[in-house]
């Protein structure tokens, strides 16, 4: 049982990876909007990235098991739709992690994560997961994923 230390909860949440992009945590993804302590219980507010993103359910389960493993049982996860999730909530350091992982981070200019060329073109508006689209680099010819700006 925790005595209301929300910082500790944030710390733990920061260890829960995004199920689809494991190099960033759910906190870095920006889906954890708030952690409150009321009536002896932690309330964790989650804003899903995309309405139908299958990872939403997975990371809720991952968060629950992470907290339980750390003997925190007095918590509740709640979905908060407003304001809607936006890639603006991602920090520069998170974007850098995405780039190193091979995913072009959300930005107005799509830069190849392999060779840093700005000479890129769209292959498809949709990719392997709801949050990404597909691009190719005209210079190094590598196809790559781009984290869509929403």
């Amino acid at each position: 049982m925790q005595n209301g230390n929300t910082n500790k909860i944030w710390e733990l949440l920061n260890t829960v990876p995004d199920p689809e992009i494991p190099v960033i945590s759910v906190v870095e993804l920006g889906v954890i909007r708030d952690v409150k302590f009321t009536n002896n219980s932690f309330l964790i507010l989650i804003t899903p990235t995309y309405s139908g993103c299958p990872a939403t359910k997975t990371f809720q389960d991952d968060i629950s098991s992470c907290l339980k493993e750390n003997e925190i049982t007095n918590f509740e996860l709640k979905i908060k739709y407003d304001p809607p999730w936006t890639t603006d909530w991602m920090s520069d350091s998170t974007k850098e992690k995405l780039r190193k992982y091979g995913i072009a981070p959300p930005s107005n200019i799509v830069i190849c994560p392999q060779c840093n060329s700005k000479n890129t073109s769209l292959i498809s508006e949709f990719g392997a997961t709801a949050c990404k689209s597909l691009f190719k680099c005209i210079d190094c010819l590598e196809p790559f994923e781009f984290f869509k700006c929403i």
Binding site: S51, A128, A130
Partner: protein, 248 residues
Amino acid sequence: MDNLINYTLRIADNALILGQRMSQWCSNGPTLEEDIAMVNISLDLFGQANGFYEYASSIDGNKSADDFAFLRSEREYFNNLIVEQGNGHFGDTIVRNFLFDTYSVLFYTKLQNSSDDTLAALSSKSLKEAKYHLRHSSNWLIRLGDGTDESNKKVQKSLNDIWMFTGNLFEMDELDTDMLNKGIGIDNSLLKSEWDKKVNDTLSSAKLNRPEDGYMQTGSKEGIHTEHLGHLLSEMQFLQRAHPNAKW
């Protein structure tokens, strides 16, 4: 309360039924990228539907979101007629989605100012996705319309065939008026002029002729559908009907 539930179900049903249609493209897309695109759109729509059904369920207090999605009969669905129309060929699907996506963007733009906080929040979320879907369908419409003679002919026919289901989108009935008067709902009829303008712009870029507003099919607000919905439901509901309360 009943009116609010039914108003919410109309929105949810549009998302669910179009989502089901898009899921039928899974493994049948013209290219791998398009296959993935259409299934992604389907997933967004299912997610939106779920949000609205969960809300209807919370007001109802008795039925679950799944009950609403899977255990109603055809006459109890209130989706617009256009979304239940068959996928046809890829051009038919693009035309149907383009006409509906254009409406959807205008609809959610207005509904995000609803005095009902949950409807407003779900709308602002859905709006972002609807805009993305519209970008996909309108880009394709331009590519097909302004493509070869054959692709132009095909999508012109798709457009002519489905046009009679567009009038249904802008209808207002008693329930809509009640929701509008309470500040919860929006006036569908006011979306028409903006929809006309946006549709006309894209059709002209696509070198397609806008069909005349002739006979318009109606009925969805009373649960009267075209023959396509029953077939869609029989497939979609099969599991829950054959194995009641089955869980994934």
